[in-house]
């Protein structure tokens, strides 16, 4: 199996799927000529030509909105929003329109659309680029929200997203793009959407995370091990639909949980995870569940990023505090 970074795995998935299915088209800002600002779409224009790979005008709303129309015409669009921070410009088309096509037409129409966007922060982007408001999409019925952490999952889940008959928001770990490497199955290997994965087994406490926070959780688990604490790390991989079964299974085993998110604390998706554990596994709990998140302040400029995002040390402290409870 070849070793790739996350962004290489995404690019590989796009090449693979465009070759496999000639209905797949790619659109977004700067995705064609320069191959995307992170090079996720590099080589697609040369290989598949200008009738399948489009540099869109700089307008996220119409990138999302026209993707609906392209899908209605029988194509399978994979749209890129250049940074998640700009996705609010497309909010109406994503949440009010894309998510509801099947529902509001009573099933006459559905839209096989994937919207990719780099999610989270930590790579010193300018203001307004980095953000983590996945919970706003998670509370928009009709969308699926996928947030892989590793190259293998990025590839396998992107293939699944493109083939899903319903719209999928595909949140890519910005910090992991070039930092996280790993072995990736080539060929037609598709991961199932809606399945969490235990990425490290442990006995004392479950740390739940998604996207780039998974590596933060893994580092914290490593640090905890050196103090004799056994941490299980559960990578949700998909937020919607949430894999309640795996969540309950892990927390029932360990009896303790810490949920890590890059988003600010209030009304974040971690709150949904906590509420779900409380509903489904309350009697297994030996301590209150803790959350490690960014604080309730807007995403900061570069020099403050490290002080803002959850880090292994904060996760470790939360784990140890939970064990003391």
């Amino acid at each position: 199996m070849p070793e790739m970074t996350v962004v290489e795995a995404i690019r590989d998935a796009l090449h693979f799927e465009m070759a496999r299915d000639d209905r797949v088209v790619v659109l977004g800002e700067d995705v064609a000529l320069t191959g995307g600002v992170f090079r996720a779409t590099d080589g697609l224009l040369e290989r598949f030509g200008p009738s399948r790979v489009f540099d869109a005008p700089l307008a996220e709303g119409v990138i999302a909105g026209s993707s609906i129309g392209l899908a209605l015409a029988g194509l399978v669009p994979v749209a890129e929003i250049q940074f998640m921070g700009f996705a609010h410009n497309a909010f109406n088309q994503l949440v009010d329109q894309l998510a509801r096509v099947r529902y509001r037409s009573c099933g006459r129409f559905h839209v096989q659309v994937t919207v990719r966007m780099p999610y989270g922060g930590g790579v010193r982007t300018p203001e307004f680029h980095s953000d983590a408001f996945e919970s706003q999409f998670a509370s928009s019925p009709g969308l699926k929200v996928v947030a892989p952490a590793t190259p293998a999952d990025a590839r396998g889940l992107l293939l699944a997203a493109i083939r899903d008959p319903d719209p999928v928001l595909f949140l890519e770990p910005l910090r992991g793009y070039r930092l996280v490497r790993g072995e990736v199955s080539d060929g037609d290997h598709v991961e199932e959407i809606g399945r969490a994965k235990v990425v490290r087994e442990g006995a004392d406490c479950t740390v739940v995370a998604w996207s780039a926070a998974v590596q933060v959780a893994e580092q914290a688990a490593e640090d905890a091990a050196s103090q004799g604490v056994s941490v299980e790390v559960l990578d949700l991989r998909t937020l919607v639909p949430l894999d309640v079964e795996s969540l309950v299974a892990s927390v029932s085993k360990t009896g303790r949980a810490v949920v890590v998110q890059e988003a600010p604390l209030t009304a974040g998706f971690a709150g949904e995870v906590v509420a779900t554990i409380q509903e489904e596994a309350f009697y297994s709990l030996q301590a209150p569940i803790r959350r490690v998140s960014s604080p309730d302040v807007p995403y900061p400029v570069q020099m403050l990023e490290d002080a803002y995002l959850p880090n292994p040390d904060r996760v470790l402290r939360a784990v140890l505090a939970t064990l003391r409870d």
Binding site: G65, S66, L72, A73, S105
Partner: protein, 360 residues
């Protein structure tokens, strides 16, 4: 550095083209030949009249508490019917806002579903298979990016279809309109953007909506043609949209058509226009009713007599009565109807929510 790289071959338009008109208020033809034969014009009158009588009926039913808030198209029937008649139903798409029902009925949307839509039944949004139409869109201009994407996609797939997307004057202030018009220009998508300028966006008059001299001229910035036509003149709308459809089909790109019309009725049944419409404005527009004009033309041509008109009215009464009876036979939706409509297959979490709802 010369300015050459900043100049493109895009569309330039300096002088606004004249407003397209065929019929004056007395029903005389202003230019020969008429763009459609008498027989088709008579059918156009019937379709317009059906839209009018449907709206009147629904407003009355709404007042009786039998229908939900609805937006009648009274006074705008020529704009929507003329545009719909310019399409080829087999290949072309009609993408509505919410005040285009008269035209949508011509394009294949069934009258029974129209009643159900106004009753608040979800099935009103289910466009029947084989009808090239998207559901009504209550988010102003929300449909325009989708329509442009659809048109672009049809062209990419080698499909001969053209997309007609309809919206009002208020929609031209929305970002969705501008983003979509820009993309249509760039991609040369086969789309006709039809703005029904009825001078009011609920209570906001045109001069508070835009400082632009016309809405049609907004097209110029997006590299497409912008034309105005008399929106209360069936022939003018039919000919103008028809020419735009032909150009789109021939690969010559999109057109913005501004149909100059007037909302003789309510914005919706929740609206009271007497709060903002000056009475002299209403009086000025009443005689410009698109039905009166076409009717006068057909009478002059000897195609329509008062008996003939009564026959049309009777036929429409019958058609409405049958559709209304049919609509009332439709069982109400199951309270759990929507669970199965959100995703292709119901996720486990949603299945559990359904189960808990059914348990009570």
């Amino acid at each position: 550095m010369t300015a050459e790289r900043h100049q493109r071959d895009g569309f330039h338009q300096t002088e606004p083209p004249p407003v397209v008109r065929y019929l004056d208020q007395a029903g005389s033809l202003l230019q020969e030949p008429a763009p459609m034969p008498d027989e088709l014009a008579l059918e156009g009158l019937r379709v317009m009249l059906r839209g009018r009588r449907f709206d009147e009926r629904c407003v009355s039913l709404q007042r009786q508490g039998r229908m939900v808030t609805l937006a009648p198209g009274i006074g705008q029937e020529a704009a929507t019917v003329g545009a719909a008649m310019a399409l080829d139903r087999r290949t072309d798409w009609f993408v509505p806002q919410y005040r285009e029902l008269a035209g949508q009925l011509w394009h294949g949307y069934p009258l029974t579903l129209a009643f159900l839509w106004h009753m608040g039944h979800p099935i009103g949004f289910r466009i029947p298979e084989g009808v090239n139409m998207l559901p009504f869109q209550a988010a102003v201009a929300g449909q325009v990016p989708q329509a442009v994407g659809l048109a672009w996609g049809l062209r990419l797939r080698g499909d001969p279809g053209v997309v007609l997307v309809v919206f009002g004057d208020g929609a031209t202030s929305q970002g969705d309109f501008h983003e979509a018009a820009n993309l249509a220009g760039v991609t040369r998508a086969p789309v006709v953007l039809l703005c029904q300028n009825n001078l009011w966006a609920i209570s906001t008059p045109q001069e508070r909506q835009t400082a632009s001299a016309t809405l049609a001229q907004k097209a110029v910035a997006y590299g497409m043609r912008g034309v105005q036509c008399d929106g209360n003149d069936l022939f003018a709308v039919y000919a103008t949209v028809g020419a735009a459809v032909e150009r789109a089909r021939a690969g010559e790109g999109p057109t913005l058509v501004e149909a100059l019309t007037y909302r003789l009725g309510l914005h919706t049944t929740a609206d009271d226009p007497s709060r903002y419409v000056p009475s002299e404005m209403q009086e000025e527009w009443l005689p410009r009713d698109p039905l009166l004009r076409l009717q006068a033309y057909l009478e002059r041509r000897g195609v329509l007599t008062s008996d003939g008109l009564e026959t049309l009215e009777a036929g429409i009464r019958q058609e409405l009565a049958e559709a209304w009876a049919e609509a009332q036979k439709e069982p109400p939706p199951e309270p759990t109807h929507y669970f199965s409509q959100v995703y292709a297959s119901v996720p486990a979490r949603l299945r559990r929510q359904l189960a808990s709802l059914e348990e009570g």
